[in-house]
């Protein structure tokens, strides 16, 4: 096989996600009553970026064959924290932002430490830590409220050069600063290796613990960035259980749509981003077609069901029945 075919095979999931997103977005924007303009793009990107950050966080953990059911709660916790400490003079606000990101990373690191050194299953661990994170969020914000530095918030939710949404640029910057170096580093490759086969990775002398720990910590950091952005959009913090849970569930859906295998070792955070954008666009399609919003949850569910069923077509390629069982 030629080099580009290897590349294509590796990136197939990501490319599929991009294709789904582009098609959905064209349908969306061409039917939007306001047409395709900077405002529509800005609103869509501001909505999509939140889920994109959480989906990236989820993707990092899923690549190591784990799952993080606490991302939504880290997102909620950092949202509440940001509405409390990102205020005051520019210096104070700056340290507030740093503090929020550190707390996000710390939450991820706690998950990682329990999974690695406690040797507990990621799914149970993160369910339990999710409850703890939500409890802390509730302690910070028993009632919705708080405030955030408005200059900063407007800067990150506005537009550059009149057409480029700042949130989208920030997302791109985060990808460049966090994901690209990580995925190209030895630790990043090790994370993929651990996801494909942990025993094989161990036998090849890969530093499993460092890879997993890095993945979980960065995942917490990304969820923290998401929470920070939520605060920028809403100007408040709210410890909402339902919304935290919904973000966790949607992040898994976005990751799957984005071509990241739940069995680990396959896919990329870029795919997860486009999966998230596609998922958001699908949800918004109903509005531009002027349906009753009542139908939105059902529509989103059916699309999700269809999207995951597409994966079943791979069964036709299987020659040996034993391969059904992975």
């Amino acid at each position: 096989m030629k080099d580009w075919r290897f590349w294509f095979a590796e990136q197939r999931g990501t490319l599929m996600a991009i294709a789904i997103f582009v098609v959905m977005f064209i349908i969306y924007s061409s039917n939007h009553p306001a047409g395709f303009n900077a405002n529509v793009v800005q609103t869509a990107s501001n909505k999509g970026v939140l889920l994109a950050f959480v989906a990236m966080a989820q993707a990092l953990v899923v690549i190591t064959a784990g799952i993080d059911l606490s991302v939504g709660m880290i997102f909620t916790l950092t949202n509440c924290l940001a509405s409390w400490i990102v205020v005051g003079s520019p210096i104070q606000a700056f340290f507030g932002v740093v503090g929020v990101l550190l707390v996000g990373a710390l939450c991820g690191a706690i998950n990682g430490a329990i999974v690695i050194y406690g040797r507990l299953q990621p799914i149970v661990t993160t369910i339990a830590t999710g409850a703890v994170f939500y409890g802390i969020a509730l302690a910070i914000r028993p009632n919705p409220g708080g405030s955030v530095d408005e200059t900063l918030a407007d800067f990150f939710t506005g537009r550059f050069f009149g057409f480029m949404p700042a949130s989208l640029l920030t997302l791109a910057a985060v990808v460049l600063v966090v994901w690209v170096p990580f995925s190209r580093s030895v630790t990043g490759r090790a994370a993929y290796a651990v996801g494909s086969s942990e025993p094989a990775a161990y036998m090849s002398g890969v530093n499993i613990r460092r890879a997993k720990f890095a993945a979980y910590t960065l995942s917490g950091l990304l969820a923290g960035i998401g929470g920070l952005f939520l605060t920028f959009f809403t100007y408040t913090g709210e410890a909402a259980y339902a919304s935290g849970n919904a973000y966790t569930l949607y992040s898994i859906a976005a990751v799957v749509l984005g071509g990241v295998s739940l069995f680990g070792g396959k896919g990329s955070a870029i795919g997860a981003i486009f999966g998230a954008m596609a998922f958001r666009t699908i949800g918004d399609l109903l509005f531009v077609f002027d349906f009753d919003p009542l139908w939105q949850p059902l529509f989103q569910g059916v699309v999700l069901l269809l999207a995951v069923s597409i994966g079943a077509f791979g069964l036709f390629r299987i020659r040996n029945r034993l391969d059904w069982f992975g």
């Binding site: 369910i127 802390i136 995951v308 994966g311 059904w324």
Partner: protein
Amino acid sequence: MNALAERLPAFMRRMDPAVVTAFACILLLLFLGSFYSSNFLSPEYLLQQLKVASFLGIIATGMMLVILLGQIDLSLPWVVSVGAMMSSAVAGFGDVGAVIAIPFGIFCGVLIGLVNGVGVAYLRIPSMIMTLATNAVAQGLMVVYTGGFSPQDSASPAARYLATGFIIPTVPNSVLCWLAVGAAAVFLMTRTTFGRSIYGIGNRERAAYLSGINTRRVVMIVFAISGGLAAFGGVLLAGYASKAAQSMGDAYLLPAIAAVVLGGTSILGGRGSYLGTVAGVMLITLLQSILSVMQMPEFGRQIVYGVVIILMLLLYGRERLQR
């Protein structure tokens, strides 16, 4: 350690350390609680706790079967709600409705479970994402269904009787329901080929398939059972609260998984006993009850809840070091 183990009577040696630890923790909780208030050891309080535990117990039974397969059922929250809402709605249709209310609620749950099962077993979709999708669809269906007009949401008399009545004096009916479901589950798991093949599939589906088990059918049926039990739990919950509400199932997903796992069932499948799940259910219920009796604020309850689960799992739920 080995020398000590050999001196114990045979029945104690065979016991799972996880189950023993879980029961020990229940006693510890009751002991600590009795310091706070002497009511904790009164029969009335314990029976009341057993009644509350029975709803979680029935729901966790289905979850346990699925986890034994090495899968997970995240559609539980809305299956619980569907069971409750559908049975209450049917109860509005006269005498016939009142009679078929409970079976119809369970039937809806089984249907959702079947969809899960077909997706997981035949289409080979990872159960986590498949059940997530059916959960979203079930939620969407209920939102559309209740949005257009308001159907009857008060529970049928039969459901109320099952949840709050007494056939045997002082023993609530819901506890009897749990007893029946539990007995059936134990029989299924330990005395039938079907049950043994659940354990077999949980250990290694490929090996189970090679030894002639129709693994896909078993997986599908187990998901259907799980859906049915979740819906039955929902029916009882509606009877208990005498009303069906949209998000009534949300509070049951995490406790159900936690109860099963705290009871020593491996989340990877293939290992676990029903006695452990019973212990896990009681443990979770007692913990929640004690925290609310102590009037701990909600945030503290969440934190303690999460920390206790982690600590208990660190005590006995750790995997072997793969070296």
